[in-house]
């Protein structure tokens, strides 16, 4: 076992070194994610069973399975390099945070790297349980009553993990655990940017919780910016 560990840490050191060389400069892939067709109408959420959360929303809120912007842009799409990027990127030291606020997950989707810390915060006056329904990673389920401190967790395998709060069945999120450090989550304008790509051939994948995945191949030769776009077919149901 000891030999095993030494070997493993050796590989880790090597990987870190390659990353350090590859990181700055290089080309950029950017673009926009849109949809065509009619996306499903998002249903209003009835929070009457949880008055403390209902109070937090001046206007009724809806589910967030599909969130769109002006010009048919699609929010909450994870765009990442699924092939071509050097593997074994070390996780950044800073944690990403997901906050339970008004019985919603903020942000709705969290992308993070393998072994990067995820900080879970509860700002509500009610208990939540955070239950990532992981398959490749460990499935855990933790209670977080109001006023309890934030906790951190890590995931050690690449996976799109659906997350729910069993107490509040409308609460859904996704933890997008990435092997690569090259990923971007679209905001309201549907835009994404993957900078600092050394020359090479890449497969870019866009993932959406309702519409699945799309891929495109891109070749970077120098420090140019390649623009690509993804168009998802929206289904009205």
């Amino acid at each position: 076992m000891k030999v095993n560990q030494i070997l493993m840490s050796g590989i880790a050191v090597l990987a870190a070194a390659t990353m350090a060389v590859a990181a700055p400069g290089g080309g950029t892939v950017s673009g926009k994610v849109t949809y065509e067709g009619t996306p499903a109408k998002q249903k209003p959420i009835d929070m009457s069973k949880e008055p403390s959360c209902a109070k937090a929303h001046a206007t009724p809120i809806t589910t967030e399975a599909v969130v769109t912007g002006e010009g048919n842009t699609l929010e909450n799409v994870v765009v990442y390099i699924s092939a071509g990027a050097p593997d074994g990127a070390t996780a950044p030291a800073q944690a990403v945070t997901i906050t339970q606020r008004g019985c919603q997950y903020v942000p709705h989707l969290v992308a993070l790297q393998v072994n990067q810390e995820l900080k879970v915060v509860n700002e509500d006056q009610t208990s939540h349980n955070i239950h990532p329904l992981a398959k490749a990673n460990r499935e855990w389920n933790k209670s977080q009553p109001p006023g309890s401190p934030a906790f951190t967790e890590k995931f050690d395998k690449e996976e799109f993990i659906p997350v729910k709060c069993n107490i509040h069945p409308w609460m859904h999120s996704t933890f997008a655990v990435m092997k690569t450090s090259h990923y971007s989550v679209t905001a309201g304008n549907g835009g994404f940017t993957l900078p600092n790509l050394p020359p090479g051939k890449y497969t870019i994948t866009a993932w959406h919780e309702s519409y699945g995945t799309q891929t495109q191949d891109v070749t970077i030769t120098g420090s140019e910016t390649k623009t690509i776009s993804f168009v998802f077919k929206a289904k009205p149901y």
């Binding site: 499935e139 209670s143 401190p149 107490i167």
Partner: protein, 276 residues
Amino acid sequence: MNTKVPSKWVLWLSALAILALPSAAAAQESHIGKLTGHASSGKELYRRFCIGCHGPRGDGQGENAPYVTPQPRNFVAATFKCRSTVTGTLPTDEDLFNAVTRGFNTTNMPSWEPLTPQQRADLVAYIKTFSERWKNEKPGTPIEVPAETAVTVESINHGKELFQKLECWKCHGPEGRGDGPSASTLTDSNDQPIRPYNFSVGTRFKCGTTNQDLYKIFITGVDGTPMPSFADVIKPNEAWDLVHYLRTLQVTRKGPESEFMKAKGGSTKAADKSGK
């Protein structure tokens, strides 16, 4: 040394042996106290006893799985309900052995106590071969269960406050009848409907019968179900208070807690008055 095997091969082979043997052997065995279970023996026993529900591949898709509620455990996913270890970690061999021995009340999984301890240990060793996780991960560290505190009015009342504060009632209901506001919406990790435990019926818990078992259930959570772990949010002493209160919700069960309540005048309300 007059050998024809090149020395570098010897080195390679011994290196391989060191790398491969411990993990492979550990995954093929189980250790429960002085017992060592062997997957090779467990395989035959699995075929004899378990295959109808858990299936030949251990994925919980045996020929009877469609008729079994709740669904048989999927050993490939390696998520286990009853553990002494923190949420998300693999259970210990003892945890699995105890589960096989105890069975799961209100499910199709019977108690296999009529099998010899050796047979049960062999089965534990075999079901660990279905998931790679047993090769790549170590079981979690068992949580510590401190000595139980005394059953007092204060303890029971504090437990009741915790039941409110931690919002156990959201699922389990204000009187522990399994009828909380979220109860009807609950699903397990396979999207199958699941009901929260109804304390008033007083049946055995799936994960054991003792106060220590009850302590472990809410501290470690019941993985694969909506029941989360409260390990980070409840202190050991408070956890015992909650245990004492939960026992009083099992109104049909005779136990020191309910006896205590009876002696104090019956209801928690009476206890409230004397306690405050």
